[in-house]
């Protein structure tokens, strides 16, 4: 009669060989796994528009944005154990999304060469310095912004101006202004200090204003441009 050593017997002590025993389902583990999938699926569903919006802002193309989101979600699932605080799901997955973009899509992205900004600068003095460099016409408008100008700014003007921003400013504005992340959450999503987020928000918005002003000038919407047309 074959006598099995203790370590080769089923752990429930029924006497059956361990190799032949169907292991009982660990209800706690299975429940935990279901909770992970339910948690993950629910958060993806709730935030999908935001993830897609940021992906679109990064890639500039709908098809690439869809692929980027799918890639990020697949990576996120395999890396779920790295999410330390479930309340930080959004910034955590935004960070994965951006890392996927950097590793897979950035080199394929067809965008003009961008001006490199010194990110070590905290940005203090950005707005006042920017204004000191601007023309008198812009400054008069800046000091007394006209509702008419603002009302006439078209959706495509804003979209064009956003797309013209350097990537780091563009995605930061998308995360904070459009998707509502705090500076702290955006810093986590982008892997940068909070001060850098603050600086990018200031600089990005001032650059955006400059671009919108330029578009308005071209379209004859600004006071000086209108005056020129009247005089012609």
């Amino acid at each position: 009669m074959l006598v099995l050593r203790a370590e080769n017997l089923c752990e429930c002590r029924c006497g059956a060989p361990a190799a032949l025993k169907v292991r009982p389902i660990n209800r706690a583990t299975m429940t935990e796994a279901d909770d992970d999938k339910t948690f993950f699926s629910r958060n993806i569903e709730e935030n999908l528009d935001a993830f897609y919006g940021v992906a679109l802002r990064l890639t500039g193309k709908r098809a690439d944005a869809e692929d980027l989101v799918a890639e990020a979600i697949a990576r996120g699932w395999t890396a779920l154990n790295t999410l330390e605080d479930r309340h930080r799901f959004r910034p955590w997955l935004f960070r994965i999304l951006r890392n996927c973009f950097i590793s897979e899509y950035r080199r394929k992205s067809i965008r003009p060469v961008e001006t490199v900004y010194d990110e070590t600068d905290t940005g203090d003095g950005d707005v006042s310095t920017f204004l000191m460099e601007e023309s008198d016409d812009f400054l008069r408008w800046w000091a007394s912004p006209e509702q008419a100008f603002f009302n006439n700014v078209l959706a495509e003007d804003i979209a064009t101006a956003m797309n013209e921003l350097p990537e780091s400013f563009r995605v930061t504005i998308q995360l904070v202004n459009v998707e509502g992340l705090t500076y702290d959450e955006a810093a986590e999503a982008l892997g940068v200090p909070k001060g850098t987020v603050r600086s990018r928000m200031k600089r990005g918005r001032t650059l955006l204003q400059k671009a919108l002003w330029a578009h308005a000038m071209d379209a004859g919407l600004t006071p000086s441009a209108s005056k020129v047309k009247t005089d012609e």
Binding site: K37, L48, E66, L139
Partner: protein
Amino acid sequence: MSNEDHTNHDHAHDDIGCIEAIEALYAYLDGELDDTSREDFERHMSHCRSCYSRAQMERALSERMKQEGKAKAPAELQSRLKALIDDF
């Protein structure tokens, strides 16, 4: 921006200047100022017409950008991701 100070000088002794207010504007709109800075900013806004109108315009522009920047994930993407997650 001109160097002209738009503040009411009766309040100047406890008021931040226009330059400082403009520098804090975006953080204020984003809800990122601490209590003291926020109070200083709002105090300046209460009596500086120029900075107040600038802040109103920036707030409206931010709202506009938020509206225009929102995207809707296509139905095909939703289906694709549902199938992907079901396979997890």
